[in-house]
């Protein structure tokens, strides 16, 4: 078997594949060195129409790219993912990299110019598969919509929570809308998009965090419809143009009812420049308490938004950002709220529009952050002394 690939056409998919395949070092040491382990840390190369298919998996996630090549006598084999990426990413752009499987099928020769590598091949039959049941639901979404939904909310996913259903993004799919939700119990992000999805009854898959991260890397701003196949606890989709296939196990669990958490009314709404607030918030970080990263936001009619902080050494800081206050009630009492500054920055960064609206009731209720244009909602719970 022999084929050649241009360096850039190979390295971009290879990076995504290598981040899907687990690092051998992270796998259980007692079983390392076995074919099964080496296979998981490998990329499966299979011939398919018009080229080859490169696949990586970590047993819960499977990612495959179609790479058009012309070759002869193609057959399935595996190559170590991180080694291949390390070598190929260091060839210069435009380099034609040659792959040639040895006659006995036990090694793959990878070469370009004066570089020659012989990589040990693991039996392709050892490469793990993910078995999926028959399709239960199919739904369609424009690729750019799914990308934008996931990237608006993913910052709020729980990182290390024992509640496994929080370790991902919920897609609440109804017949005419899709809502993406992520929360770690302290803050929550909700993004909704009106679209005909093709489902009759709503479905609520939870995409695990690694799947979300990989998806946001492969999805582009193309407007074509993607078909998402949902079967039991599996989700798979194929990007148009035969570019890439993605398959993930879903988080098994029931997501909490996020709707009850989204505040419907907040007495005081302050419009601020998103960029100015992000800059002020980032400047003040070193004088916030290391552990809580708390700042106090003060909303007062006719004045600027004030951000105050004090760290455990006693350093203090104050920032002011212009704001325009709207109130439902005639009251003019000031509102103070303590929040984690990192949470504020994360929400603001996810908005992606010039202005943000911060809505508050008092220091004990959640703060709602919305974009001046767009429909995403970002909720942060305050801190209490």
């Amino acid at each position: 078997m022999k084929f050649t690939i241009e360096q850039q056409a190979l390295v971009d998919p290879l990076r995504k594949l290598a981040s899907t395949a687990p690092d051998v070092a992270s796998l259980n040491a007692s079983v390392s060195g076995t074919d099964a382990v080496n296979a998981v840390a490998s990329i499966l190369i299979e011939p398919e129409k018009g080229g080859v298919r490169f696949t990586a998996t970590d047993n819960t996630l499977r990612l495959a790219f179609h790479i058009p090549v012309e070759g002869e006598d193609l057959k399935p084999c595996t190559v170590p993912a991180s080694t291949l990426l390390h070598i190929c990413s260091r060839f210069s752009a435009g380099a034609e990299i040659c792959f040639e499987l040895e006659g006995d099928g036990k090694a793959m020769n990878v070469s370009h110019g004066r570089s020659r590598y012989k990589l040990v091949v693991v039996d392709a039959n050892e490469f793990p598969g993910i078995t999926s049941q028959d399709d239960e639901y199919e739904l369609s979404l424009p690729e750019n919509v799914l990308r934008s939904l996931l990237s608006s909310v993913r910052y709020a996913m729980a990182q290390n929570d024992m509640r496994y259903y929080l370790l991902g993004v919920l897609l609440d799919v109804g017949p005419d809308s899709v809502t993406a939700v992520a929360t770690d119990g302290h803050r929550m992000a909700v993004a909704e998009h009106a679209v005909q999805t093709g489902v009759n009854e709503s479905v609520q898959p939870i995409i695990p965090s690694k799947g979300v991260e990989e998806l946001t890397k492969i999805l582009t701003d193309q407007e074509q419809d993607l078909v998402l196949h949902l079967a039991g606890n599996h989700l798979r989709l194929e990007l148009s143009g035969d570019r890439c296939a993605f398959h993930t196990m879903l988080v098994d669990g029931k997501y909490p009812d996020y709707r009850t958490v989204v505040p419907t009314e907040r007495k005081l709404r302050a419009e601020v420049s998103r960029e100015a607030l992000i800059k002020a918030a980032e400047r003040i970080i070193p004088v916030t308490d290391e552990l809580t990263q708390a700042v106090i936001l003060t909303f007062k009619d006719g004045e600027n938004l004030e951000i105050g902080a004090r760290n455990n050494k006693g350093d203090t800081g104050e920032e002011q950002v212009e704001m325009k206050i709207n109130r439902d009630d005639g009251a003019e009492e000031e509102v103070k709220i303590s929040i984690n500054i990192k949470y504020l920055i994360d929400s603001l960064q996810a908005l992606g529009c010039p202005d943000a609206v911060l809505a508050v009731n008092d220091g004990s209720k959640s703060m709602l952050i919305t974009p001046s244009e767009g429909s995403s909602k970002h909720i942060i719970m305050p801190m209490k002394a």
Binding site: M162, R163, Y164, V261, N340, K384
Partner: protein
């Protein structure tokens, strides 16, 4: 400074899936066959034997099956007066907890007797729970006494240590996480007053774990136990 947590709600804690039947075999069958017999069941057992859990699980399951059901903690409702039972006869499952708390209490017995009769006419299932068997509770109204004694009687026993730990793990599982074995043992060694208090501690640990974004481990349980109890933070 402590981080408040979002009021995300929780899955029901009192379900049949969470109920440890070991030592109380037969109770689920008795509950399942009750509607067919159109009768009433008297659950009795000491504190922490699972009476409240079963009553709430019945209501939860009935509601999931879109059958009308009501759970009434009579000890807490005693002050509201017997009118609190009005309208209940419409329900197909009526679950009365701590029935002994309203016996020999003015008009309560009369109203309770009326409710039982209405429920029987209506084909509803009646579940009652008390510390003592129906034969041992004192009832002023002779008609009510015979109604209560006519109910199918089912004794419940508190769980031993091993089954308590199983019950705690199931409770954790229903909330979407696994409770480590050593944390359960630590909790059992440091909480003396039975399953109810262990469950309260577990709820407190869950809140603290969300607030501090830490997992429930032995050192974490030790820290939480060392703190004075705080009131639950809500939106």
């Amino acid at each position: 400074m402590s981080q408040l947590i979002l009021p995300l709600g929780s899955n029901p804690r009192h379900t049949f899936a969470n109920f440890c039947t070991d030592g109380n075999e037969g109770i689920l069958d008795a509950l399942e066959s009750l509607p067919r017999q159109g009768g009433s069941l008297w659950l009795h057992g000491p504190q922490d034997s699972g009476k409240t859990h079963l009553l709430q699980a019945v209501c939860h399951q009935a509601k999931a099956r879109e059958v009308s059901a009501a759970y009434l903690p009579l000890k807490q409702m005693r002050e509201l007066g017997p009118e609190a039972l009005d309208g209940l006869e419409q329900c197909l499952w009526i679950c009365l907890d701590d029935v002994d708390a309203v016996l020999e209490q003015g008009d309560w017995e009369q109203r309770l007797f009326g409710l039982i009769n209405q429920a029987m006419d209506h084909g509803a299932s009646l579940l009652m729970a008390a510390r003592q068997p129906a034969e041992s509770v004192s009832v002023a109204l002779p008609d009510l006494r015979s109604r209560l004694r006519g109910a199918v009687s089912f004794p419940l026993h508190p769980l031993d240590d091993e089954r308590q730990s199983e019950a705690l793990r199931r409770r954790a599982h229903s909330q979407g996480y696994d409770l480590p074995e050593d944390a359960v043992r630590y909790m059992q060694r440091h909480v003396v007053r039975g399953l109810g208090q262990l469950c309260q501690l577990l709820d407190q640990l869950e809140q603290a774990s969300l607030s501090q974004q830490r997992r429930i481990t032995v050192p974490f349980v030790r820290e939480v136990l060392a703190q004075p109890p705080t009131s639950e933070s809500r939106l």
